[in-house]
């Protein structure tokens, strides 16, 4: 069986500066795969390339049997690849409900959409209480929930989350991580980018460590969690 997402020798550049220098990894259906690494390692660049916002200068991305490199972003979504971007990027002047509905922009089954909106409210009850409120008024953690809920609205085959815990209080971070665990148990395939390596590694099936545009180290989440070098560099232990 071939993997759901297959990335081979991907290279991405901003002008003359190459930010991703030939990385390869894959995500199998049902897995949670995480990319960890310091700031500027190229994780966001990788995700933005996968969803088509950036054009690669080399390499090959196959998703669900299709080569992605020449498909514009809005068509990539329709293939079942959802991306919750770094910094959340909710639509601040639209209501929570409108934000969720935009997540289902490509779907035409209004009954299913209504059902999924309700499911998002079940997953994040706080959103349900404020459904008619402008999204810009939410707190950071609530905005992150909205961004995740919105990404789920497209019924993705693969959900890409870029630093969902960024800038959140420990309690909120806990809440987001437990949501990811819950999604995993429901069988959602997730590609998770995190700086909080401890949390990410402990729930990932597979993990890759990125450093200045390359993948330095790969393994199962548990392997890396116990790796000497990883513990030193990313888990802040001496």
């Amino acid at each position: 069986m071939t993997a759901l997402l297959e990335v081979e020798d991907l290279r991405v550049a901003y002008g003359k500066i190459e930010a991703v220098k030939g990385i390869s990894f894959s995500v199998e259906a049902g897995q949670v795969v995480t990319l960890i690494g310091t700031n500027g390692a190229g994780k966001t660049t990788t995700l933005r390339t996968l969803s088509g916002l950036l054009k690669p200068i080399g390499g090959r991305v196959t998703f669900d049997g299709k080569v992605l490199s020449r498909i514009p972003p809005h068509k990539i979504v329709s293939l079942g690849l959802a991306h919750s971007p770094e910094g959340r990027h909710i639509f601040p002047r639209l209501t929570i409900e409108q934000n969720l509905l935009l997540g289902a922009f490509l779907r035409r089954d209004s009954a299913g959409i209504t059902r999924d909106v309700e499911r998002a409210y079940e997953l994040f009850p706080i959103l349900g209480e404020r459904r008619k409120q402008a999204a810009g008024t939410l707190s950071g953690g609530e905005q992150q929930m909205l961004a995740m809920g919105r990404a789920l609205m497209s019924q993705p085959k693969l959900l890409m989350l870029d630093e969902p815990s960024m800038g959140l209080s420990p309690i909120m971070m806990q809440k987001i991580m437990s949501t990811i665990v819950e999604l995993r148990s429901q069988g959602t395939t997730i590609l998770l980018v995190e700086q909080n390596a401890q949390a990410a590694l402990s729930l990932a099936d597979h993990a890759h460590v990125m450093e200045i545009g390359t993948i330095k180290l790969s393994g199962t989440g548990q392997d890396l969690l116990h790796d000497e070098g990883v513990r030193k560099t990313y888990l802040g232990e001496d």
């Binding site: 916002l53 809005h74 971007p85 639509f91 639209l94 409108q98 490509l106 497209s154």
Partner: protein
């Protein structure tokens, strides 16, 4: 004749036209942060498109019957030019330095103006536009011309239609999303290129309606009528808060009324008796713009956005 209600009505009519044109500036700006300087010329070509239709229709045709056809003709011309400009002049410059599309817009504006001047038969002079009839209706002390009724009706229909479209339709929602965050809008599956084209098209459509209204109101159209009208409409868009469609309409009305009142009443202010009259109307409109930028830079309905180069 020069009562205050009459001046307010005059301002309202003028302002409706500014508002219709301002929609085009504001929608495009709201989505791609581009001042489409050529929008005044899109308004002008709409008027010429409508006039062409009128000239092709049989002589002596009833103007009311011809009006829908003229509107369609003008709209086709304006929308095609607006969409073509986006596709071939502006889109290749996305991501270029901010100055580049502005200069392109100026080039486009000159080229369109001159294309009409050079190639439209007889357009080196003012062209007569058909009239709706000269007998005004009276509403109390206010005299209302037929063309003004058309203008206000058209503005109301356009605005209500646009508001409903943006608020309720799928494309309207996609438009709002694209305006707020284009990259994320793409992640929702929105084809933002298509949304940008639609914004240009709606701007072109409204500009064509305004162009026809202009012809009916003033009886003549000229190849360079887009310059002043465009400048005023842009002022209206900034007044109302650029990027906000309701702001564009409100800004148009405020500008129109301010202009009408300034023309009529400034001369009564002691020491300014020579600064009233039609000749100074543009000057006062401009002063109003400066004042608004000073006290409320985001415009009447605009939201505070970080100052940006």
């Amino acid at each position: 004749m020069h009562t205050l209600p009459q001046q307010l009505a005059n301002g309202l009519f003028l302002g409706s036209m500014y508002g219709l044109i301002a929609i085009g500036y504001t929608m495009v700006y709201g989505i791609v942060q581009l001042i489409n300087f050529a929008h005044g010329e899109i308004f002008m070509t709409g008027a010429f498109g409508a006039l062409t239709v009128w000239n092709c229709l049989p002589d002596g045709m009833n103007i009311w019957a011809a009006l829908p056809l003229m509107l369609i003709g003008g709209a086709i011309v304006s929308v095609l030019i607006a969409v073509g400009a986006e596709r071939f002049a502006y889109r290749p410059l996305r991501g270029a330095p901010r100055l580049a599309p502005l200069i392109t817009a100026i080039g486009l504006s000159l080229a369109l103006q001159q294309a009409i001047f050079v190639w439209y038969p007889g357009a080196d002079n003012a062209k007569d536009f058909p009239q709706l009839g000269t007998h005004p209706y009276h509403l109390g002390s206010i005299a209302i011309q037929r063309n003004d009724i058309f203008l206000v009706a058209a503005a109301v229909v356009c605005m209500v239609g646009l508001a409903a479209f943006v608020r309720t339709s799928r494309t309207g929602r996609a438009m709002q999303a694209t305006a707020q965050d284009p990259d994320t809008a793409q992640l929702m599956g929105i084809d933002t290129n298509r949304i940008i084209v639609i914004a240009f098209a709606i701007g072109g459509l409204f500009a064509a309606v305004a162009g026809v209204a202009f012809g009916l109101k003033y009886g003549q159209i000229t190849y360079n009528m887009g310059f002043q009208a465009g400048l005023k409409a842009f002022t209206a868009a900034v007044l109302g808060g650029i990027g906000n469609i309701y702001g564009a309409m409100l800004g148009g009305l405020v500008l129109g009324i301010a202009e009408a009142c300034a023309t009529a009443y400034i001369a009564n202010i002691p020491g300014m008796h020579q600064l009233g009259g039609q000749g100074w109307a543009n000057v006062w409109a401009f002063v109003l713009l400066i004042v608004v930028l000073l006290v409320r830079p985001q415009g009447l309905l605009g939201e505070r956005v970080a100052d940006r180069a």
